[in-house]
Symmetry: C2
Subunit: 795 residues, 2 copies
């Protein structure tokens, strides 16, 4: 088996990979508020930190463009890495761990991701080696440890050289150098970030332009010069390792590297352990502070404990036990962890897309609703008085709208009431709605409710003569940028999402008795109805809803198209908005099943485009089956699952949802560890079957909050309302029982949901007492309740 | 010897390197108007083409930032390359040529740059291999050939597999793929250049987003997928080569590569030859056109002939014979070639810096003065009515001022009369001066002369209360950007250069009887004098001129500074402007000799800065000894040589000049082939002696025109005037005789310059007749003259 789930202790859920070859791109990730590291099973590392924009301290061998993390990231020999060369000085054998760059077949290999640590257990040449990396709670530092143990039972002492190799890489064409600092006991590489304008100098002054590699033990020698270290042997067999002792080379306007040498004599079963710290700093003083803060056993333990505690904040409100351990672990552990990562560090962006920011905080409603509350307020405070939301939310005073946030997208307002629904369902905090919130372009302030309604009014205004939503240069689908760039094109999805947003708001107003005028509410209901009708009259074609009408007045996403014939999102949201009749729903579902369903999940569209369509745009230029161009784009897939639950297609919903979750079953194809939901699996299943199912390896995705919502509100059916918890589980045929725990507004519900052939209507027992309406009320903070839910077996 | 000069035939001057290890960064370069390739001796290649801005078709393994070529370019395993793996199928031995990535020690190795071709001659495993690359005159295509010959005298047929490996690399995160195209008989990699804004799409539509690799013979198999090609073996020992036949893999959103396989049976002394074409194209049709245009023996010969003829345009007006073959070859051949590259393609920029553009065209005066004429007119047509010159000259309607051209530099006007002097000296074309030329910001037009005087007036106005030139954010020295960014700082160099420009203009007016008012001329002379005086009163400190006075009113470049104590340029230009008295000159020269002179040339400043000086700027942040921060910056060094000639320091001038020219003598240190003048050799000689002398390997430099001017007007002393050629050679002690040829305004002068102990005054004989004034007049077009020049031996 390539990877396996290993529940060591109840509190620690590890995922393990026992081979460096089968899934070469498999990786885990660690983060704190200031940095993120993606650690590849073979020893390559992608690391970034915020200052305030994302920056590197371990660089490529050339000047890399600053971009977001690439899907299906490409690794290559000189990719930033953390290796350890180990040389048996007696046998003159050398190998590298964890695997790169020597790629020796190791006797034992295990790559393990835990919540707050990534480590390898390796055996080779009768040595047992453990390499581990963790972070700190507050600092920008990689905390590494290495221990090497002699497993040989006889033969006396062994002489081993150990060489940590940490990539510094091509730092700067202006100035780069590295040297060993005796006082710091480590290598300090220094650079000047290139710039040309004077004003930039003053900004750059504060940058952490040094990269440090510190060791807790004094090495016997070191090397900081990439070129002379490698020599003609290359990274595979560096010339520097052919000598008994490293040559203590500086790098002077030469690509730096951090390599040190330890020579150890290990008796039978003797072991030796090292600690290393690696990261960026402004100056030696800062490096010294880091050194003092993290070296020493007690400090290390403290640092690990603090970091464990930080990561442990990524716990959410639901625990489930379905007896499928892998599934349960993912839901109980990895999903909340990933959701917390999104909510806590906002994808390491200072200007997250509004859509992402709002949905990521929808996930935070299940972890720490107060964070979501503040995020909603921050987002609305950047709203324009017109009701329009900006394309990105600025999180930092120096932040500015960059890249995709400079392109006008029409959907941002949609997410506000939807995220609010989850927030209110989890908290019941109606007070939020009367909070006064300012605007980006006005001195006025209005209540939260008024802001929401301005957003809805803006959506209603941003429609054409047919009452359909103008798409501008994109809706949820970023690269659908040329459908409406001339100002005419409309989006069926956005029209449906607008209807859905309107209904959601009205539902909330009703459920939570929000104080808005009856007239306004009725108007919104009518507007939603009208929107749904318009969508029906313009977009229903064949047996599904088309995706849009372009500036050229061309409808697309219908059977008449050779490519992009059917899109998933309009179908899902037609179910959510109420636009689709039960008959239409069945036709749509059938079409999706036939055209979009694959063993790896449901594709976002099919067939994938193979060439540019100029009135659709950039999406059609992406590689077929990749990203928005017909991959199993999990964000879209979970919309579909959620919509299926709304129309009680519980089996299908569960099937779609299950395929989103990485597992052993799909690891061979996906090539990723079951520690995060990727943003996509390759689609174009019928066009490029060989690549289909392959993971993007990207752990930034809008999928998570919706996935969690499906689990909480739909699968387990434990959904909050105004002073109430509604009980309505939606078990699929394949699942007869779920037990677990639901935290709800401070109360703890220990629940069992099980099918019973003895009933024909749902029955809910709270502490043994039947609740005839399947509603739990008067739950008290800090109290624990037993909830027993019986579901008719033949439902 | 690492490299040697090999004058095969009179018409072909080759430079050869016999080892791939000793000078691993050694490279040659080829270009045409649309592209440039820098070919490293080990098989790595930097290639760029213009569309209209510089772009790649052979990419790095990651997303590389678009920057100018880096000094001391860093090579790494997956750097863009053109390799050939060769496998002896019987012996199962495999190696790669020219050297990378397998790095096998070859029996014979020779890397050769000729004018218009780069090739390798290699012997290994009893195979003789020739690899060659050349370009075409007009297209963007690398024309490669490979021949393999069986050297074995017995043993019957040998079975060989040959695998060209051409890097395509990471093309795009939006879309990248590759496949073998049977019809084209080659590999076509396709990509979509990433973008986000709609407007960009319409620009990008025309891009050559495909990379093709075409072969003239049908391969038996192919591979286009970098990752599966390498497998666990890596580039050193690719898995794909372990099989008998390549597996014909596509790349589908996977990093593409172009590899094909040939299997050949070679009898004794049998050989086989292949042709390959590699480059970017918009579509298959364009690729097909390239294929038809260049495959086939006749077409290849024609293409090579056309390209030879193109490169052969890089001939200039002087041939010398000093009996130092290496020196002569460089002057006669490589220097004009490099000068032509600069003048013909403007460093592959669409907005060359004005300073570079004007000086590069100063070089064209010696090759094709008409090009220089047009360039001067184009430059002046972008002048503002105020007289100010823009920071860059836009060569293309879509071009815009980028990077460094967005920073205001104060020196651009200076170069106009200086370049004009060379133009007039070479052509006598005074008509140019009355040409009417428009402005960038006005409908008016004025004569060339008036434009020049506006530039001079602007320089005189851009001075402070002391009459010193304001430096703004830099002068000739780009990164000296914080001396005057607050509007107060002044530059001694720019003041001197202004005086020099004024005098140059007045000299021209006198020499060529240019029709300007006497008053104006007298004013300029006075202004130059006043400027020189001001420089003397404010900058003469210690025994040399300081470099500037900062915004903070701090003088720098004096003995009081710990770093940047002495700068070369103010000394050189004080000699050029007439500011320095003979006594001062001797003091300056002494200081330079003591503090700036090194075995590798004269440093631009010393000691190099080791940390930021906030009232000087970016130059102080560059690595010590690199680029402007105290390297042997050849552009500055040649200014010094030229100025030494003006004060008849002929020995020292020749010494400085000679050290600029790469040669066998300095190859061990410089690490570069003697085929181009690099922009710098590492300086900081006393601070970092180990790196001192190392070449930047950059062949873009303003040095060339000045170097050529020194040779023509000073060393050989054959300088044009108004209807006259002045004869005044300045032979150094070490050189007793130069013979050669001087083309001058259509006449051909076959000259001999030699020292004679029998005379005490220069004697010039034209066709045997003594010219008592040492002036040659009435030279006629298309006529050949014999010129015999006797120089007093004890001069």
């Amino acid at each position: 088996m390539g990877n396996r789930v290993n529940t060591e202790k109840k509190s620690r859920v590890n995922v393990e990979l026992d081979c460096p070859i089968k899934m070469p791109k498999a990786s885990g990730f660690l983060w704190n508020k200031k940095m993120v590291v993606q650690v590849n099973c073979r020893g390559y590392v992608n690391s970034q930190y915020m200052q305030p924009e994302p920056r590197k301290y371990s660089y490529a061998p050339n000047i890399e463009e600053k971009t977001f993390i690439q899907p299906e990231h490409n690794y290559f020999t000189h990719h930033p890495a953390r290796f350890f060369y180990i040389k048996d000085e007696d046998l003159k054998h050398c190998f590298s761990v964890p695997y790169e760059p020597m790629r020796v077949t190791l006797d034992k290999f295990s790559f393990v991701q835990t919540s707050s640590e990534i480590y390898w257990l390796i055996e080779h040449l009768d040595l047992s080696i453990k390499i581990a990396i963790s972070l700190s709670k507050h600092d920008i530092v990689e905390r590494w440890s290495l221990s090497v143990k002699n497993l040989r039972r006889n033969g006396g002492k062994r002489n081993i050289s150990i060489y940590p190799y940490f990539t510094v890489g091509y730092m700067s064409w202006m100035n780069q150098s590295a040297r060993f600092d005796e006082e710091l006991n480590g290598i300090v590489a220094s650079a000047v970030t290139p710039y040309q304008k004077v004003a930039q100098y003053f900004k750059n002054k504060e940058l952490k332009d040094k990269t440090y590699f510190l060791a807790d033990k004094k090495p016997i020698a070191w090397h900081t010069n990439q070129f002379t270290f490698e020599g003609e042997g290359g990274l595979y067999a560096p010339d520097a390792l052919k000598e008994l002792t490293l040559s203590n080379d500086d790098a002077r306007y030469e690509t730096p590297v951090a390599v040190v040498q330890y020579r150890e004599s290990l008796a039978e079963h003797e072991s030796t352990t090292f600690q290393f710290l690696f990261g960026p700093a402004k100056d030696e003083l800062e490096i010294s502070t880091i050194s003092k803060r993290y070296f020493g056993e007690t400090k290390q333990e403290k640092a690990q404990k603090d970091y464990d505690d930080y990561i442990a904040q990524g716990k959410a409100c639901l625990k489930i036990n379905t007896e499928d351990t892998e599934f349960d672990d993912f839901i109980n552990h990895w999903l909340p962890r990933q959701m917390f990562y999104h909510g806590d560090v906002n994808r390491l962006s200072t200007d997250p897309q509004t859509r992402n920011y709002v949905q990521d905080n929808m996930g935070m409603c299940y972890i720490n609703p107060n964070v979501a509350r503040n995020a909603l307020i921050l987002a609305l405070s950047q709203q324009l008085l017109s009701g329009a939301m900006p394309d990105g939310i600025l999180l930092h005073e120096q932040a500015e709208l960059k890249y995709i946030n400079q392109i006008p997208h029409a959907d941002h307002c949609v997410w506000l009431p939807i995220c609010l629904a989850v927030y209110l369902n989890e908290t019941g905090d109606v007070d939020l709605l009367s909070a006064k919130i300012p605007f980006a372009d006005s001195d006025k302030s209005k209540t939260f409710s008024e802001h929401i309604m301005l957003a809805l009014d803006w959506l209603l205004k941003a429609t054409d003569h047919r009452g359909l939503s103008l798409i501008e240069q994109g809706d949820w689908c970023d690269p659908m940028n040329m459908v409406g760039y001339k100002g005419k094109g409309v989006s069926s999805w956005l029209s449906l999402a607008t209807a859905c947003a309107l209904n959601t708001w009205c539902d909330l107003c009703e459920e939570y008795a929000i104080n808005i005028s009856m007239k306004k509410c009725a108007d919104y209901r009518l507007a939603a109805l009208t929107m749904n009708k318009a969508v029906n009259s313009y977009f229903w074609a064949d047996n599904w809803f088309a995706r849009g009408i372009t500036d050229e007045n061309r409808i697309f996403g219908t059977a008449k198209d050779n490519e992009g014939q059917i899109y998933l999102n309009p179908q899902s949201w037609a179910m959510l908005s109420g636009a689709a009749s039960p008959e239409q729903q069945q036709l749509m579902i059938k079409a999706i099943t036939e055209q979009l369903m694959t063993p790896y999940g449901v594709m976002m569209l099919a067939p994938s485009y193979t060439s540019m369509v100029e009135d659709i745009g950039r999406i059609t230029q992406k590689h077929p089956g990749v990203s928005e161009n017909g991959s199993v784009y999990n964000h879209a897939a979970i919309f579909y699952a959620y919509s299926l639950y709304q129309v009680n297609e519980n089996d299908l919903a569960f099937d779609v949802l299950k395929k989103i979750i990485p597992s052993l079953d799909n690891a061979d194809k996906s090539g990723q560890l079951a520690v995060f939901v990727p943003n996509y699996y390759r689609g174009a299943y019928y066009q490029y079957p060989e690549q289909a199912g392959r993971s993007s390896q990207l752990f930034n995705t809008g999928t998570l909050a919706w996935l969690y919502r499906c689990l909480v509100e739909e699968l387990c059916g434990l959904k909050g309302g105004n002073g109430v918890l509604y009980v309505a589980p939606k078990l699929p045929s394949c699942l007869n029982r779920i037990s677990g725990q639901r935290l709800f507004r401070g109360a703890k519900l220990v629940y069992v949901i099980e099918k019973s052939i003895q009933i024909d209507k749902l029955e809910t027992y709270l502490d043994g007492k039947l609740r005839p309406d399947n509603q739990l009320t008067n739950l008290e903070i800090d109290k624990t309740y037993q909830v027993h839910i019986l579901v008719p077996a033949n439902d």
